[in-house]
């Protein structure tokens, strides 16, 4: 890993976050109306607690966590909307909050739940305004429009008012609008929310293409684990304001998925299996058996080898845990860990 010292921006590290915390002060709703109005007590909520990470140029990072975990707060701090309560952020060498306008040229932001397009106007008009705001050169603008028309299918909806667009069409336009100025860094906060499979797939493919061809760094939040799985190389899992997991996508499976489920269909029923270390559950009067294999001591291959010594196998199915389930397990285990800590 490349180290960054003294705030000097090194090419490879696009984002550096050190000891980042963010608190919110909220009024406690207790006592009568008068008490609430005049003698309010405040409570501090720690939305983000002392998190650290860096993100290198060109990476695809998934921010995952349950609602209220601190994902959006972190993205708002990275994009300069919110100031940190304490800690340090540099995005391309700048403090995104103190150099808000400068930072804005380098980032694109899509909030899936909110539109940046002009509701009553065709997207062509919104794009013209963005061109002026970001001072985009004519040739860059023309080139990007060609790209969007080709890969995001904007040609057919170019002159239609936004209010007439489907959610999928609108989201494609939103993404195009957020990268019109060629930002090095793209934040996508729930870009596929409410979309159908076709639209989701199209957006995932475009994000990957953008990353391949322009080395755009993408930070994505989504509750759809398929998005994360297909797009991201790295996953940062936040829960209760703390980073719980930060690892390459491929490691997540290996380190958190300790078991797989092997199901075999047999040609003739068998009443009992006697394989050490593995427990089987019979179904269909012994014609079908399911085994949970602990990958730290055994493997599916070894199990099948053992079974084939006893019975004839008609069909096999090996189920790995889905990413969604792994993450669900991590949320749960994190809960219990916190309980034990207290």
């Amino acid at each position: 890993m490349i180290s960054v010292t003294g705030g000097i921006y090194m090419e490879q590290q696009l984002i550096n976050v050190k000891g980042l915390s963010r608190d919110y002060k909220i009024a406690k709703r207790e006592g009568g109306i008068l008490k609430f109005m005049f003698a309010r007590k405040f409570e501090m909520i720690n939305a983000v607690k002392d998190i650290n990470f860096s993100i290198s140029k060109g990476s695809l990072v998934g921010f995952v966590g349950p609602n209220g975990a601190g994902k959006s707060t972190t993205i708002k701090m990275l994009s300069g909307i919110l100031a940190p309560t304490s800690g340090n952020i540099t995005v391309m060498g700048n403090d995104p909050f103190k150099k808000r306008k400068q930072n804005a040229y380098h980032i694109g932001v899509v909030f899936g739940q909110r539109s940046q397009l002009w509701w009553d106007l065709p997207i062509s008009d919104t794009f013209k305004l963005l061109k002026k705001i970001y001072r985009i050169q004519d040739n860059v603008y023309a080139k990007n429009l060609d790209l969007f028309k080709e890969y995001l299918d904007l040609e057919s909806i170019w002159n239609q008012p936004v209010r007439q667009l489907s959610l999928g069409q609108r989201m494609r336009a939103e993404i195009a609008a957020s990268i019109l100025h060629n930002p090095e860094l793209l934040f996508l906060d729930e870009p596929t929310i409410g979309l159908d499979i076709v639209a989701k797939r199209q957006i995932r493919e475009f994000i990957l293409k953008l990353n391949r061809e322009y080395k755009t760094t993408v930070i994505l939040t989504s509750h759809d684990m398929k998005d994360i799985e297909e797009i991201c190389e790295r996953i940062i899992l936040i829960d209760k304001g703390v980073i719980v997991v930060d690892c390459p996508m491929t490691n997540l499976r290996d380190s958190y998925n300790k078991t797989s489920v092997v199901t075999v269909n047999l040609l003739a029923p068998i009443n009992e299996f006697d394989i050490p270390g593995v427990k089987g559950v019979p179904e269909l009067n012994g014609l079908k058996w399911s085994f949970v294999v602990d990958k730290t001591v055994s493997s599916a291959g070894h199990l099948l080898f053992e079974i084939s010594k006893i019975a004839e196998i008609a069909d096999i199915e090996i189920k790995e845990k889905a990413i969604e389930d792994i993450i669900h397990d991590i949320y749960l285990s994190n809960d219990s860990k916190i309980l034990i800590d207290q």
Binding site: S79, L82, Q116, I133, Y134
Partner: protein
């Protein structure tokens, strides 16, 4: 000026979008035109009945009232829909979208909504003011005309400043609409009459606490040669400058509020 060019593009595109709802656009204009037209007619009827109000003729009343309306409406074109209603911008999350663009937040809000509905009242006010000035122009000198221009500019800054300050309250308070209506509309409505019809303490409030009277009353005294005391003259001459100062103050307050919103202030 780059901002003017951006603002121009926004207005052009906004008007295009308003044309999608042509009927609503023109009804908005006409309703505003009529509402203010009726105000002037009411004044006319009142002055006809009593000959004058505290020695102010219909033409003089028109100047007084018109200065308030025209400065309010011009400032409103830029600030009323978004900055004055900042509460909506915060709750809708629009404010976050402004913060990710490389442009000042107030500038973006000015661009975001062109206050087309104010055009009606500007039109009717200009008509009545021109008619009034035409009738009293024998009393006006070259200096009065120059001073009138400065008064209008200063008044626009004053009204804009008031809208920005009242909008900024949303950064500190959750709901501000009724408070703003009282502070801005109810209290300011008193300046459509000469200050002398009110008890002294109200005159004091409108001059020094919520100094709306510098928008129209003190300048009108100078233009209409009604100045009686030295302090009237000084306040009148300083009025345009005070307007600009209040505008500067409002920007300061807005930025403090924005810092509070983002959490870097207290």
């Amino acid at each position: 000026m780059e901002f003017l060019s951006i603002y121009g593009s926004y207005v052009k595109i906004f008007l295009k979008s308003r044309m999608e709802y042509r009927i609503s656009f023109f009804t908005g204009l006409t309703v505003n035109f009529y509402r203010y037209f009726i105000s002037y007619i009411t004044f006319w009827a009142l002055v006809q009945r009593f000959n004058s109000i505290e020695g102010w003729s219909f033409e003089e009343m028109t100047l007084l009232y018109g200065l308030n309306v025209v400065t309010y409406a011009i400032a409103g074109i830029f600030f009323w829909y978004t900055v004055y209603h900042l509460e909506n911008e915060i709750t809708s999350g629009n404010l976050d979208s402004y913060l990710i663009r490389p442009m000042g937040v107030i500038k973006q809000m000015m661009c975001r909504r062109f206050g087309d509905t104010f055009l009606g009242q500007i039109l009717v006010t200009i008509i009545f003011m021109i008619l009034a000035i035409y009738k009293i122009n024998y009393r006006m000198t070259f200096f009065s005309y120059i001073y009138l221009v400065f008064t209008i500019i200063g008044g626009i800054f004053f009204q804009a400043g008031a809208m920005i300050i009242l909008g900024s309250l949303s950064f500190w308070l959750l709901r501000t609409d009724s408070l703003s209506v009282t502070l801005y509309y109810d209290i300011r409505s008193m300046i459509q009459y000469p200050l002398t019809i009110f008890p002294t303490y109200i005159g004091f409030i409108l001059t020094f606490i919520l100094p709306y009277a510098i928008i129209n009353y003190y300048p009108s005294l100078i233009i209409l040669m009604k100045v009686q005391t030295c302090s009237d003259l000084i306040i009148g001459l300083l009025s345009p400058l005070i307007g600009v100062m209040i505008f500067a103050l409002s920007i300061f307050i807005f930025n403090r509020g924005l810092r509070r919103y983002s959490g870097s202030g207290s």
